[in-house]
Amino acid sequence: MIRAFITCVTLFVAVPAWAEINIKEVTSPGGINAWLVEEPSIPFVALEIRFKGGTSLDAEGARGATNLMVGLLEEGTGDMDAQAFAKASEELAAQFGYDSHADAVSISARVLTENRDDALALLRKSLVAPSFPQDALDRVREQVLSGLRSDLKDPDKIAGARMAEIIYGDHPYGSAGEGTIESVTHLTREDMIAAHKGAMAKDRLFVGVVGDITAEELGPVLDALLGDLPETGAPMPGPAKVDIMGGVDVVDFDTPQSVAMFAQNGIDRDDEDFFAAYVLNTILGGGGFESRLMEEVRVKRGLSYGVYSYIVLRDLANVYMGSVSSANDRVAQAIEVIQDEWALMAAEGPTEDEVAKAKALLTGAYPLRFDGNGAIATIMVSMQMDNMPIDYITTRNDKVDAVTVEDVKRVAGELLTPEKLQFVVVGKPEGL
């Protein structure tokens, strides 16, 4: 009985009802733009602040400077040292997160309504006027170096580093944003000041705000928080030249399970075939348990706990990647299965049923993302950075629905290049 019921529901899957997400574009008196969702039901505000560029802006010879600089933002400002700053944020129960990656510096903040102005004044000090004291620099540098030493013995990190080197070569994407033991050891306070000026400027600023604050209140708040940042920062690097040739690259490392990554050229978000490629990836390796790779590698053969593929959209490059881990004596078989599936999909494309299921998954799952103030703020800031229109959320599922099985078949043939699928394997793989 239950199966009949399920089938019935599956056939008539409609996009579930939406919570209305009413995004307002706010421009402060000082000219700072933000996207805002007013959500007064819980007395706090979530802010997501991003500066485009991130660790890829590191100056020549100062690899790791942006990463270390971001780690020092909460370690001293004005007459406050790291301890004083931490105590002040604890007293306000404000939550500040500072992070950096290859395309952005990101600041995530959650502040209570009852002390919002004080909390944001504290956050401002760390963003606008960090002091980079030498003792803090030395202390946090040791933490970064400890992480880098660990990365050199972590098979996942080794695989990621080797793959980045193969794909991106000398471009900033080709090396770790945390820097190397050599480069980080030599970073100075002057490097921190320069990295701060270069990375955190208003010409690359994007803001998403969700919570207990009105559009009228937000304008002056933005000016007070971010208005004193410099107008312009360091020049952006040019696009990475990606031309993946394929092959299997083995990095010898003594561990029982091999970690494998794979990659080929990707597709741009602005490409008219992007949504067809997105549906394609869901079917091939992106859709969790339902993907072909998961079915063939894990469910049918038990070769791995998980296998995934993902379209990587970076600001300066597009690639199509995946990963799998298998015991040293089984990883060659896992790779062979992946290569076969890649070739099969390129040659024949998916079935009508697979496309319908993938579209149902993607359109049904999309509204589930908007389930909290912090989550919505993050989505809004990403949309701005990717130059999406403010009504994108309401049109996105239509774009998925418009994809046809013919589209996906054609894109599978054009996009997938099984002969140019590059593998990096870290471990003691047998037969490779």
């Binding site: 399920i6 579930p16 919570a19 859709g287 969790g288 706990y305 298998s326 149902a360 049904g364 509204p367």
Partner: protein
């Protein structure tokens, strides 16, 4: 309400304790003994549907370690009504995501879907509570999967191998000393009968808790729960959850773990510690605050002394997880700075604790921690899944709804004296396990 008011006054709080968090929660019991908790959040048309079984790896029989987790995997295979894999495929076809997890005290299954798909989730989840149908061939493939999972999580990770050995040393008699995923040699021998034996013993409505969180009304959940779960008979032979307890520890245990893949050595110490118990949570609350004072971030005592003042540690912390069915641990850790030896790092960590026992609790520090705990109740309302998980963890660890709801106020009411008494009780070296994680190079020296 009065107690809450007094509490806020006593701590000098500028902010009253938020009452709203618990207002989201409704609970009731089905006639067959299945408990139901509903957490409402109507901001988005999304629901989290979870079934928590009061059975985890510590409820396994000797010799079949990993069977609780193995069975969790097998619940995604065929039932009387669903083909193998159809459960997750159906969730996905409805735009949802599903998964499951196993720990020492619980096995839980969950799906996040649009709120109007709740009935479908209940129909399938109630089905696999009692109707799985497994074939020998299929379970052998899935056994390979869990062994690869162990490879990924444990064998490839020297830190995880080290923690496995530490736990084994900490618990001589209780099954918390055996890894949740299982010892490899026992996993390799797990069979269909082992899985079905565990399933038949523990998977029943009177051993399960249904938690539904999101855009739902309690009446609607109740009607659906009665229709799908309420019709499953209770298991009259459900065993009592009485596990072997630890003998008194009379000798400090020490261990050195060497692995060539270790890049960053560290020192860790655990002390056997009492957990939260029904109607008796003050001791655990004091230990929770003690861990925050000693190890909760930049301003904590360990971090301040070892990282900031003496600079002999890159990172130092303390932690304690009080939500556990049986005795838990209180833990310390320090990562030595370059040039600092392991013994030196351990001695420095002990000296900080000894000094803390002399100087006692900094009241301003305690007040900052309590302020953050109060605020966390506001922030948590933004994440209904987190509220749902808090109830799931608590109820499967032997606590009642009343215990879970009293916990924030108990934390606020703990005095410095109670914290120091808890510290006196915990910091007994004879009842500790100390581990050094080391590289092979250090072994050669």
């Amino acid at each position: 309400m009065l107690r809450r008011f007094v509490c806020a006054l006593a701590t000098g709080a500028a902010m009253a304790l938020p009452a709203q968090a618990e207002d989201q929660v409704t609970d009731f019991m089905l006639e067959n003994g299945m408990q139901v908790v509903v957490v409402e959040d109507h901001r988005a048309p999304v629901v989290m549907h979870m079934v928590w079984y009061k059975a985890g790896s510590a409820d396994e029989k000797p010799g079949v370690s990993g069977v609780a987790h193995f069975l969790e995997h097998l619940l995604f295979k065929a039932t009387d009504k669903l083909e193998s894999g159809e459960f997750s495929a159906t969730v996905a076809a409805n735009g949802g995501r599903d998964n499951a997890f196993t720990s020492y005290d619980v096995t839980a299954y969950h799906q996040r879907v649009a709120a109007d798909r709740l009935e479908l989730m209940m129909s399938m989840e109630s089905d696999r509570m009692v109707n799985i149908r497994l074939g020998e061939e299929e379970i052998l493939t899935e056994r390979d999967v869990i062994i690869e999972e162990r490879n990924q999580r444990v064998e490839n990770n020297p830190g995880a191998l080290f923690r496995e050995q530490l736990n084994a040393a900490q618990y001589l008699n209780h099954r918390y000393g055996i890894p949740i995923i299982g010892w490899r040699h026992e996993m390799e021998a797990l069979g269909l009968e082992d899985a079905l034996d565990y399933y038949g013993t523990y998977y029943a409505p009177n051993n399960a808790i249904l938690i539904v969180a999101g855009d739902v009304e309690p009446e609607e959940v109740k009607a659906l729960a009665e229709q799908y779960y309420g019709v499953i008979p209770a298991n009259p032979d459900l065993p009592e959850r009485a596990r072997p307890s630890e003998p008194p520890q009379t000798s400090a245990r020490r261990m050195e773990f060497y692995d060539a893949r270790v890049a960053q050595p560290y020192v860790t110490r655990s002390y056997l510690a009492p957990e939260r118990n029904p109607g008796d949570q003050r001791g655990a609350a004091a230990l929770t605050l003690l861990a925050e004072l000693l190890g909760g971030g930049q301003t904590s005592v360990l971090s301040q002394k070892l990282q900031f003042e003496d600079k002999n540690s890159i990172y130092a912390t303390a932690w304690y997880r009080g939500t556990s069915l049986d005795a838990t641990t209180f833990n310390l850790l320090t990562v030595p700075a370059p040039g600092i030896g392991m013994q030196e790092a351990e001695d420095a960590m002990d000296a900080v604790v000894a000094e803390f026992m002399e100087t006692g609790v900094d009241e301003a520090h305690l007040e900052r921690i309590k302020m953050q705990l109060r605020a966390s109740q506001i922030y948590e309302r933004d994440n209904v899944d987190s509220v749902a998980n808090r109830y799931g963890r608590g109820l499967t660890s032997g606590l009642t709804i009343a215990d879970i709801q009293a916990w924030p106020e108990i934390l606020q009411s703990i005095t410095p004296e109670e914290i120091m008494a808890a510290a006196e009780m915990i910091f007994d070296r004879k009842k500790s396990v100390t581990g050094w994680l080391l590289t092979e190079e250090e072994a050669a020296q």
